[in-house]
């Protein structure tokens, strides 16, 4: 049995960076198999078609066996969950409502299965809600305004995501850490991922130049903040042209959110 592995992203991967595969390729590299089985759990989004499609588009052409798992769609669902989950090399969890995701997992006893998968050395990866869920706590916007929420507690501390992309999150998280409603932990920009082996942080990587991460603790009521050293993935080999496309896409997303168009329609 291999050592438990968790890779948590502040944002990024196929749902957020359709033209930048660096983080997803990194996820695949964490499995010991040359052609890993990778299961996508889009629960936090309500299993939206765009997330499922984006997953297939990213992984269909790569050296892996991709499979999405829906807890809503009823087709092709005769296989017991434990068989589906424990046969994987990687389980990749998408973003969305962390509160809904955890409640739905519990309703299907999937939380216990994920912990079992982790113990067996199946790589657990995810972004946003799918990153925070592995920690003792995170910060969710599942009910509107950002608020603290408990996670599965496989990793000590708390995590906040989209530190640059959704700037309203960080101040609320810092206040929660200072006041003690969340334990100290990490704040990740979009594009940054932390690799944990066992419960130990071993590496911080990024798909975007300039994206950062920090460790924050409350000591005697004061916040102590430390920037982490983040390695840029694929340095030297990444074409620079895609950065502009990403920026345009992000601009469109922000504009759509402000005018009330669901992201799925983009």
């Amino acid at each position: 049995m291999s050592e438990p592995v968790i890779f948590t992203m502040g944002g990024g991967g196929f749902t957020m960076e359709p033209s930048n595969p660096l983080l997803d390729d990194y996820v695949l590299s964490l499995a010991s198999s040359p052609r890993p089985r990778i299961l996508f759990l889009p629960t936090a989004s309500g299993d939206t078609q765009p997330q499922m499609r984006a997953f297939q588009e990213r992984f269909d052409c790569r050296a892996c066996i991709p499979e999405p798992l829906s807890l809503f769609r009823l087709r092709d669902s005769r296989r017991p969950l434990h068989e589906t989950l424990l046969a994987q090399d990687i389980i990749y969890v998408g973003g969305g409502s962390m509160r809904n995701m955890l409640a739905i997992w519990r309703a299907h006893d999937l939380d216990a299965l994920l912990i079992e998968a982790w113990r067996r050395g199946i790589v657990l990866a995810g972004l946003s809600a799918g990153a925070m869920c592995w920690f003792q706590g995170g910060l969710t916007r599942s009910s509107g305004p950002p608020e603290p929420i408990a996670g599965l507690g496989l990793l000590d501390g708390s995590l906040t995501v989209h530190a640059d992309g959704e700037p309203e999150r960080l101040p609320v998280w810092l206040r929660c850490v200072r006041e003690g409603s969340l334990p100290g932990g990490w704040a990740l920009d979009d594009g940054v991922g932390l690799l944990f082996r066992g419960t130990r942080l071993v590496r911080a990587v990024s798909s975007r130049p300039g994206a950062g991460a920090e460790r924050v603790d409350a000591i005697a009521g004061e916040l102590v903040r430390q920037r982490l050293a983040v390695e840029l993935l694929g340095a030297g080999e990444q074409p620079g042209a895609s950065a502009e496309e990403e920026a345009i896409r992000e601009l469109r997303q922000v504009r759509a959110l402000r005018s009330g168009i669901p992201l799925d329609d983009l």
Partner: protein, 250 residues
């Protein structure tokens, strides 16, 4: 404030999501509200708040109702759903329409937002509750589910002290499985085909209605010899007397 007899209309399947032309079942539940322009709120949770389902709901109900929906997956985005106070909004409705999909996921998400208790309150106040498939199963004590594995009993909200099996005509294996579970001690209950709905006042079944001339529903209970299945009397909503709005006693 809305006060009336608790009413649930549990569809075996059907309504606007399945029946493109006929939504006689939906007309039937709308008539129970006693309002000219009822306030109808859609809960598409069991589908993961699928956009296409929400769009079809508005297409069906917006012309004749004050239509709204509650999305538990997009509460951070403010996309036309209800944002401020879920409970206040839900308790101000005449009809709550629960969509189909996966019941276990839906009830899990409801509990996380306290909606199970809000729905109980709504039911007690006489706000009509209805829905197909998962939107039927959820009101019962026990439901039969074959999602991710062998068929098993899953717990609903338990407003109605029976078991329920939907889409009874769609899969032949359903009947065998349901009978086996009832024989093994699952609560007695009701098996319902697509296009057929059970109308409960309080917890008593008062009427069975159908949008299809050949639609059936059954009472299923254990008996000395195993399981007894009794075909229920069904009112066809497409019959001329119903179209004219003449009521027929159950």
């Amino acid at each position: 404030m809305h006060v009336g007899i608790p009413q649930i209309v549990a569809y075996g399947g059907g309504g606007f999501s399945l029946e493109r032309e006929s939504s006689l079942l939906d007309d039937y539940v709308l008539s129970l509200t006693g309002c000219d322009r009822p306030r109808v709120c859609f809960l598409p949770t069991a589908s993961g708040d699928a956009d296409h389902y929400i769009v079809r709901f508005y297409r069906r109900f917006a012309p004749s109702c004050e239509a709204s929906h509650v999305s538990l997956f997009r509460r951070d985005q403010g996309t036309g759903g209800v944002e401020d106070h879920l409970e206040r909004h839900l308790l101000a409705q005449d009809l709550l329409y629960v969509g189909g999909g996966n019941m276990v996921s839906m009830i899990g998400a409801w509990r996380a937002h306290g909606l199970d208790e809000v729905l109980r309150k709504a039911w007690r106040r006489g706000i009509v509750l209805c829905g197909p498939s998962a939107g039927s199963l959820c009101w019962f004590e026990d439901a039969l589910s074959a999602f991710h594995g062998a068929p098993r009993i899953v717990r609903g909200l338990g407003f109605l002290p029976y078991s329920n099996c939907v889409h009874y005509d769609a899969e032949p294996a359903r009947r065998v499985e349901y009978h086996r579970f009832v024989a093994d001690g699952m609560l007695p209950g009701f098996a319902v085909e697509d296009g057929v709905a059970l109308h409960f006042r309080d917890t008593a079944l008062t009427r069975v209605v159908t949008s299809r001339p050949d639609g059936c529903a059954y009472r299923v209970e254990s008996s000395a010899g195993g399981v007894e299945e009794t075909r229920l009397e069904v009112s066809y909503l497409g019959a001329p007397s119903h179209r004219l709005g003449v009521s027929v006693a159950a």
